[in-house]
Point group: C2
Chain length 384, copies 2
Amino acid sequence: MPEKGYLMTPGPTPIPPEVEAAMAQPIAYHRGPEFQALLGRVLPRLKEVFRTESEVALLTASGSAAMESAVANLCSPGDRVLVVSAGYFGERWAQIAGRYGCDVVHLRYAWGDLPDAGDVAARLAETGGARVVYCTQGETSTGVVADVKAIAERADAAGALCVVDAVSCLGAVPLESDVWGIDVVVSGSQKALMTPPGLAFASVSPAALAAARSATSPRFYLDWERTLTSQAERRTPFTPAVSLVRGLDAALDLLLADGLEAAWERSRRLGRACRAGVRAMGLELFSPDDDSSAVVTAVRVPPGLDGVAIVRSMRERSGVTAAGGQGELKGKIVRIGHIGYVDLGDVTAALAALERAVAEAGGAVEGGVAVERARAAHAEAVGV
Amino acid sequence: MPEKGYLMTPGPTPIPPEVEAAMAQPIAYHRGPEFQALLGRVLPRLKEVFRTESEVALLTASGSAAMESAVANLCSPGDRVLVVSAGYFGERWAQIAGRYGCDVVHLRYAWGDLPDAGDVAARLAETGGARVVYCTQGETSTGVVADVKAIAERADAAGALCVVDAVSCLGAVPLESDVWGIDVVVSGSQKALMTPPGLAFASVSPAALAAARSATSPRFYLDWERTLTSQAERRTPFTPAVSLVRGLDAALDLLLADGLEAAWERSRRLGRACRAGVRAMGLELFSPDDDSSAVVTAVRVPPGLDGVAIVRSMRERSGVTAAGGQGELKGKIVRIGHIGYVDLGDVTAALAALERAVAEAGGAVEGGVAVERARAAHAEAVGV
């Protein structure tokens, strides 16, 4: 019998049984009344999760395609845009905008740094403004969650649209699209939304939709206007991933059952538990040691040890799938996700696996205390 | 208890239990060894289904995105391309190429016509050639299957790349990408490949890949080179629809179990059965009454009746979901798909539902003979 297995990456995340059951329903014809009713349930609740009155475009694609949609629909070649990056996914904004021929002003922080809204304002002032500011809420590669509210304020003050990558944050960390004045939020199904990968989303403010009308970059499959026109009739312009939309419908039931704030608190508490456990075993945190770290906890690999081997050992010896470092952090950190359908038992399983892997690799680690400290921190955090 | 329901559209199609079971497996981390092994099984067998030695790019998207990829990767603004269309999906090629600023020469046939390779050659000669010829194998909106072998020959003779939309045909109708000299074949998961919608494919010949290197249209998510570079290491560049890839793995087992030719013959026999039934009840076929019509049978709605109401009645009174006409054929035809996980019992259920719907709408229809004739035609076709 194979190991049970714990999927503890910051995406994709495990699927609740209610979502599995929904996806096992027979395929619905995407142009029939059943699917129309399904979209009629899903789209308004997506808006609740995005905290927006704007429409949310639903795409059959990965989150990166939703990111691309926010370049293809908003920009024409030569448009100046400001990209704020502090890790792998922030840099992806610069890659995409570069591909579309934008004049990319890149406010590039070191991986793991916290972007500063004052820098954003200064860079916008220096360069004479930008059409769009692209930034990342949860930098999944480092665990840092940026203050996108402050960035959006500075973008707005400079007359720029603000686009936020919330792929790993949506449903896990507070995000108030409309109140914070964010024009476009992009996300995906496979993180805190507890659905398999394959659906991506972009909320589109009226200002963003107006900008799209004048943007000349070519797009067809990712065209917002085409998508939103169909969605107004509870249809999709292209054959959607019907089974995943069924799953999302069930996942939204779960996510919103106790209110979105309860989901945010849940991730925050799991983050506290995870950090307490890591500290207790004497390892160093790479992601910030505060409540902003609610998506993923990044742990520094002790000097002399190989992070790739630690991640492999966690999987092979304990059945726990964690994520290693990406890009320049490869081998240097281990990332434990705690978003979506994950609970305290999963976090403690990941901590125990990490402890065992580090110890077996010869690293200095305080044994036998991490799980207990994690449980205590979680209990303390109740009702916070 | 709800009606059982028969999904008889030309996509999405019903899902075999083996595929359902595979998709219910826990989510695999897309950067872990399990998913790598999964891709290692899927990619070579996709090549078998495409009948090509070229690589097949796997995209998490609908088939239309794979179509777009064949414009974005092959063309620069101003490039002359020839679009051969005879229905809704053929015209989609012209729309996409137009969006990308191509100089579109449109060889446009009436919906339901069979494109002629001689016309393709003539148009290419008149216009001084083209960079790419875009055509459609199975025009799902009309049921017509074009002779793409002949079109590819003429494209090749004129020095143009040939791109074929085989979304509804792949796995249902003979297609020999390499032998016929087709550079790019695009398809999707939700038709004869018996997997839910959400995966799309594009086979990319060496000549197409070389053309992609000089094409300047912007693309990121749909970039072939990025995708194929990752696939060479059995990875995907973006988070893939993991559960759908698991499903596809199981579906390929089923599809290839008796060889691809057996799958082609299966669809051909079901097409014969369906046409025999339609003729027997005295209705007129819109799609050709020959073995090319193996994907979908299009039936003319008798004069004075409303096709939209017939389709609704089939669904509401008999639990059979068929497709109506698209675009200019709306209300004028009923389309019964017979690709994927569909058998003779399903086809006869659809015929009985059609007979009942037409009769109840007051149409002239010969009652009680269609199912029997369909069964007889199917039996006769065994071993053809």
